[in-house]
Structures are given as structure tokens and as C-alpha cells.
């Protein structure tokens, strides 16, 4: 037990994490590609036409995964932020900073694909509905965190201030998730829930899950790429960065 703990703490230094992340990036790209091909195949060539929404429903295969990821990345970011406040580890702040733009992108894509789904089905690109509005707030929370971090010159202080904002904003995630239950909304209910059988064909469900896995792997790959760039920028004064083969070359 203690052996494992020590190893984790070792990995938590940017110096140790940087090469490990570099090795993992191609693996996550490969997984993202594999899940993406499988998910798109199921979504476009296997899943049947929807009885009420025709082919338009196929937006679900990208809309639901981006929405899930926008919320999930926020939770992961909050976990890193909390860890950063508790342990004052450099890596935590860097990870939170690396995840934010990808989370913001997922929130944006969720809103974008939602608009492209809402227009043909509801007749409007946008409505001030509880689900849509709370997702928009999530997008603004990401942007607010990023703006706050870049406004503070000292990165360690920026990490702390950002972490507090992220932790306060966590309250919005369950609001998004349960918004379709708590309020009467135009948005349809949850596609999948834990306590009841999914209300869709199995092929549709698998297509959606595979696309979600694809975006998950993509997000990890991109976050690792970004955290490596952040490490080079923030730790540029340190010896370990100067000793890197790619810097010496």
C-alpha cells in the first residue's frame, strides 16, 4: 500500500509526469480512432432510422457524447483543483488548466450540435430552456476559469484562484443533469439512466457509448498534449526542462 502511494506521489511531479504523458498520448489517439470508427459505423450504417425523428436523430451520436464529456471534464477538473488546494501540488493546477479548454470545447460542441438538432425538431436554434441554459452556464464557467487564470501573472496564485472558481461552479453540474427532471423542459429526458432500461435500440445505445468512449480518449490525449506544453512553458527555468532531449536538439 505505502509502496503504491509513494509511486503516485513521484508521478505527481511535472518532471516525472512529462515523459510518461508523452508515451501515453499515441495510445490514447489510437483508442480514440478505434472507438470513433466503430461508433460512426454503428451510428451511420447499423442503427435503424428513428420512428419519429427520421435520420435527424443521428445527431444524438455526437450530441450526447459531447454533453457528457463537457460535464465529466468539469468534474475531473474540479477534482484536480481540489487536490491542488489540499496538497499544493504543481501538477494539479497544470492538469486543471490543461483540461479547461477541452471542456469548453465540448460544452460549445454540445450547444452547437444541440442547436442543429433543435432547429429541425423544435423549430428553433435556441430556447431559454433549463437544460440549454444550464449547459450555457457551464460553457461560461469554463471561459471564466480560463480568463481568471490568464489574468493572474503568478501561476501558483492563478491555480489557487482558479481552483476556487471551479469548485464553486461544480454545483452547476447536477443542475444540468437533473434539469430535465426538475423543470418542465422542451429537452427530452435522459437517454440512459441507471435505474431503468434504456429507451432506445441496442445498436443506437452502443453507437452512442462508443462515440462517448472516442471523445473520452480524445480528451485525454489532447489534455496530455496541453499539459506537456504547459509544463514546458511554466517550468522553462528548471534544469529538468533544459535537460530534455527535444530542448537540447
Amino acid at each position: 500500500m505505502s509502496y503504491r502511494l509513494v509511486n503516485w506521489f513521484k508521478l505527481a511531479s511535472p518532471q516525472k509526469f512529462y515523459p510518461v504523458a508523452g508515451k501515453m498520448i499515441p495510445l490514447f489517439w489510437l483508442l480514440a480512432a478505434a472507438f470513433g470508427v466503430a461508433g460512426l459505423w454503428l451510428g451511420f450504417f447499423v442503427a435503424p432510422t428513428d420512428a419519429t425523428q427520421g435520420e435527424g436523430y443521428r445527431i444524438i451520436f455526437i450530441h450526447v457524447p459531447t454533453s457528457w464529456m463537457s460535464m465529466f471534464i468539469y468534474l475531473v477538473m474540479a477534482a484536480w483543483a481540489g487536490l491542488g488546494l489540499a496538497l499544493n501540488a504543481r501538477l494539479s493546477g497544470m492538469m486543471a488548466q490543461a483540461l479547461a479548454p477541452t471542456g469548453a470545447l465540448m460544452a460549445f460542441l454540445s450547444l452547437w450540435t444541440g442547436a442543429f438538432w433543435g432547429k429541425p425538431m423544435w423549430g428553433a436554434w435556441w430556447v431559454w430552456d433549463a437544460r440549454l441554459t444550464s449547459e450555457l452556464i457551464l460553457f461560461f464557467l469554463y471561459l471564466g476559469f480560463m480568463a481568471l487564470q490568464s489574468a493572474i501573472d503568478d501561476p501558483r496564485r492563478a491555480d489557487k484562484a482558479g481552483a476556487i472558481v471551479v469548485l464553486v461552479g461544480v454545483v452547476n453540474v447536477p443542475v444540468i443533469y437533473f434539469s430535465v427532471k426538475w423543470w418542465n423542459t422542451l429537452h427530452q429526458g435522459a437517454s440512459i439512466s441507471i435505474n431503468k432500461a434504456p429507451s432506445m435500440a441496442m445498436t443506437m445505445l452502443w453507437g452512442m457509448l462508443l462515440m462517448a468512449l472516442c471523445l473520452w480518449m480524445y480528451s485525454i490525449a489532447v489534455a496530455l498534449m496541453r499539459v506537456r506544453a504547459i509544463m514546458l512553458e511554466r517550468e522553462s527555468h528548471t534544469d529538468w526542462v533544459k535537460q530534455l532531449a527535444e530542448v537540447k536538439a
Partner: protein, 62 residues
């Protein structure tokens, strides 16, 4: 097979604009983001190398 032809596939039963408008923008974003990150990395590496060269020159001068 659901689709009778390629045109049928791209038409998406009349929802072509909406389906491809969603998937297209997502695909674009997922190409742009890693590309921008590669730029950011090479920029960071370049500035590190510049800094190290400058230090080297300083050392040689003194």
C-alpha cells in the same frame, strides 16, 4: 443496408444540413485543437532553445 446510394446517405432523409452541420463542426474542432497544440509545443520548444543559446553566448563572452 439503410442507404440506397451515396447521395441518399448525404441527404440524411432531408436532415443533411443538420446532421453534417453537427458532425462537420465537431470533426473540424477535433482536428484544429491538436493542431493548435502542436504549434504551441513547438513554440515553447523554440523559445526554450533561444533562451539556452542566449545563455551559452553570455557564458562565452565572459
Amino acid at each position: 443496408m439503410i442507404w440506397h446510394s451515396a447521395a441518399d446517405f448525404f441527404a440524411m432523409g432531408g436532415y443533411g444540413l443538420y446532421v453534417w452541420g453537427s458532425f462537420g463542426v465537431c470533426a473540424l474542432a477535433m482536428v484544429l485543437e491538436p493542431w493548435l497544440l502542436r504549434q504551441r509545443r513547438s513554440q515553447a520548444l523554440r523559445s526554450l532553445q533561444r533562451e539556452m543559446r542566449a545563455q551559452q553566448m553570455n557564458k562565452e563572452r565572459t
